[in-house]
Amino acid sequence: MDGTKIRSALSMMDERGSGEGAGYAVYGAFPEFADYYAIHVFFDAVHESKAAVDRELGNWGTVVHEEEVPTYENRNIRKVHTPWRYFFKPDPSLMPRSETPEDDIVMHLVMKINTTIPGALVYASGKNVAIFKASGWPEDVADFYRIQDYSGYIWLAHNRYPTNTPGWWGGAHPFNLLGWSVVHNGEITSYGTNRRFIESYGYRCTMYTDTEVVAYLFDLLVRRHGLSPEMAVKALAPPFWDDIDRMDKKERTLYTAIRLAYGSAMMNGPFAIVVAQRDGIVGFTDRIKLRPLVCGTAGSRLYISSEEAAIRTMEPGLEEVFMPRAGEPVIGRLGK
């Protein structure tokens, strides 16, 4: 799939935004560099900060290719950052005690660059995944990057109505860390708890917005703690105690354990979230579904959106449309 349809689907929902932030993620964007981490950086001024970023990357591995992300002049978008992408191979011998040294090196680099190099913000760091985001209306951001020139097997898109950090490119969704990309509608009232929890595992929240913790939480729970995506969703939006009390013993023990171990990871407040990684996507809402989420299927394709109209724009011949219950994950896995 190229980016044409997702552009028109997101434009359907312009009234959900304010023209101050939109973004897209596409998995499978860089087949020729599929084995390299695609480190995306916003530079305030390339000549000021890039040397420091180059140096950090050089300390930890090899950059096999780099380029300014191609953009096309658009009168509605002021190019306040220069987007750049590196294709990077970390040197695993530099992180000897880790079970996943390459991911850990990249995570370390993201946290380090974002907290110590002024004027540089790493906004994506996964393999074979491209992120396009800026301040503007969805169709303008799409045209600015010409997303129709990219194609892939998973697309995420998001239209923002910012309240906390308007006009800041880093604040637009999707948020990405390693393979994880997140789009989020809502506000996380448990952010303070979640942030303190995730920061005690070495993550650093640098984007001034609540959504980034979701990417970090998935990275921790799934990659580092080995939970399945279903279990991770159950940790982030667990069943109520009243429901747990009615379960059979085995399930009750399981969900009690999840709530005890990961109580600080649980997310509160209204949200609908879609998280993608290289082999699939998962969509879910908060425990009382304070934000909409609708799904549709057609053939082997799964669509998840805030609005059915957006799905029908992409796929007029939908076979099934359904609305998941509060807290229930909807999972799409990549076919073999």
Partner: protein, 502 residues
């Protein structure tokens, strides 16, 4: 007559036009303030402690109490309290005793913290219409879960350590039988059982009449080891090792022999009439590794079925101590702030040693998180929790649950006169004198305490709902939902909260 009489603390007047000479004030005052002669009530104001029992019992509202009717000559440095203490010690040459908690006018940090509410960008949640979860588990939590892949699904490998399940994060702290009456303990026990929460025994043993409530009782092991045997340990829902107490950090306890009646003596396992003196340190704990041994011995004795708590007073390095406790196999650390009450403490300790609970909880939570061991222990905050807002704030600073002490006593009638150490509590709470104890009806008093816990729980639900939070876990450590109002920058850094407007 070198010093002479000092200005009377309270002046009592009985309005003759209202008084009907019923004599209830005479009967009710254990301090012998009132005397009835022919058709007049005579008053000795100097004996009054302002416990307000007479005021509560007077059917005609005839009694009034005025504080400091004749004041000391004012002076900004030589306060009345300073001078009075000097006169007192010049006469006696002794340590001054005091009851209740810290009575110095230090600023209360809780009162400079404000809570958050949701509007527009996210909805507040109505607890009357939506589920609101206050259930709290106290004990060790796994740092991560291990799963085994069973084909399609994952099954859990991790086993959970025993935890106490609380219906609300409000427990009643440790007040021993001896310090308070059996009726007071029974009232609390009935209330916590009804409220789905727990109470502490204090270091006074477990009286057989509390056995029916033992599933809601945390038994305490303190430095005197009073009342401790295997029966006691096995009956408790959890065991708490008391190292320190907020009202008197660094020193032990002292129950005067007059309070050690037959029943107290058998519950504490000490001779009748003997002073029960708990040493300052545990004589088998001279280092953190000794504490670990005691924690593990208690667990071994009870077959690792019960959570073990360790209670410390909030002092300058409580965060480091808590980090040590978290590594000792203990399941919870109780931090008792310097406003924590007591039956009797040297005034100089009560008023000058220790730090406020707000700062202690914030620093302990931050330290445990920075070391990645926050899940190893629950944090129970106590000492100066006066209302549901304090509960919400201290949980937002990082506590899992609170102990209340004084608040529960106030719910039973206590007027916070601070004279507990004399053993004459006219409300039947901090006394062992049978006629005074009989004044406290456990049926009534337990209802009051249960009402208080219920009311605070409702208020806590409403506060959480307004903040867009439907589970207590999401309030815990959520300091982003607090703001400091006219707190100085250094204390806001310790609390890790922003100022109002930021």
């Amino acid at each position: 007559m070198t010093i002479g009489s000092v200005p009377v603390r309270f002046r009592i007047t009985v309005d003759g036009s209202r008084c009907m000479l019923c004599g209830r004030c005479v009967e009710n005052c254990p301090y012998d303030v009132f005397r009835k002669e022919s058709d007049t009530i005579h008053v000795n104001s100097r004996k009054c402690v302002a416990c307000h029992r007479c005021i509560a019992m007077c059917p005609r509202d005839a009694i009034s109490i005025k504080e400091r009717p004749v004041d000391y000559r004012s002076h900004p440095v030589w306060t009345e309290e300073a001078r009075e203490s000097i006169y007192n010690q010049a006469r006696t040459g002794k340590i001054i005793l005091a009851g209740m908690g810290n009575a110095k006018p230090y600023p209360v940090i809780f009162d400079s913290l404000v809570l958050d509410a949701c509007q527009v960008t996210n909805p507040s949640i109505d607890p009357l219409r939506e589920p609101m979860e206050l259930r709290t588990y106290i004990g060790k939590k796994p740092g991560r879960l291990e799963f085994r892949d069973d084909g399609d699904c994952q099954s859990l490998v991790t086993t959970l350590a025993p935890n106490l399940e609380l219906a609300t994060p409000i427990m009643v702290g440790h007040m021993s039988y001896g310090a308070i009456s059996l009726n007071a303990q029974k009232s609390i026990a009935m209330a916590v059982r009804e409220s789905g929460t727990f109470m502490g025994t204090g270091e006074g043993g477990l009286h057989p009449s509390l056995y029916p409530f033992q599933d809601h009782v945390i038994v305490q092991v303190a430095s005197g080891r009073f009342g401790v045997d295997i029966n006691y340990l096995e009956r408790g829902a959890a065991i708490e090792i008391k190292i320190g107490q907020g009202a008197k950090p660094g020193i032990g306890g002292h129950l005067p022999g007059e309070k050690v009646c037959e029943d107290v003596s058998s519950t504490r396992m000490i001779p009748v009439g003997s002073d029960a003196i708990s040493p300052a340190p545990h004589h088998d704990i001279y280092s953190i590794e000794d504490l670990k041994q005691l924690v593990r011995s208690l667990k071994e004795a009870t077959e690792w079925k019960k959570p073990v708590f360790v209670k410390i007073a909030a002092v300058h390095n409580s965060a480091a101590i808590a980090a040590g406790i978290a590594r000792s196999s203990a399941d919870a650390v109780v931090i008792d702030g310097f406003r924590g009450g007591t039956g009797a403490a040297p005034r100089v300790f009560r008023d000058h040693v220790g730090i406020p609970i707000e700062a202690a909880v914030a620093s302990v939570d931050a330290k445990l998180r920075s070391q990645g061991i926050r899940n190893e222990v629950s944090i129970i905050a106590s000492g100066g929790i006066r209302e549901s807002a304090d509960v919400a704030k201290v949980i937002a600073l990082g506590a899992d649950a609170v102990y209340i002490g004084t608040a529960a006593l106030v719910a039973m009638g206590c007027r916070v006169c601070g004279t507990c150490y004399r053993g004459l509590c006219p409300w039947g709470i901090a006394t062992q004198r049978p006629d005074l104890v009989a004044r406290l009806d456990p049926e009534v008093a337990s209802r009051n305490v249960a009402n208080l816990i219920h009311a605070w729980t409702l208020e806590l639900s409403e506060l959480m709902g307004a903040a867009g939070i439907n589970s207590i876990e999401s309030l815990r450590g959520n300091r982003d939902r607090l703001r400091g109002y006219l707190l100085d920058e250094s204390i806001m850094r310790v609390l890790d909260v922003k100022p109002v407007g930021a």
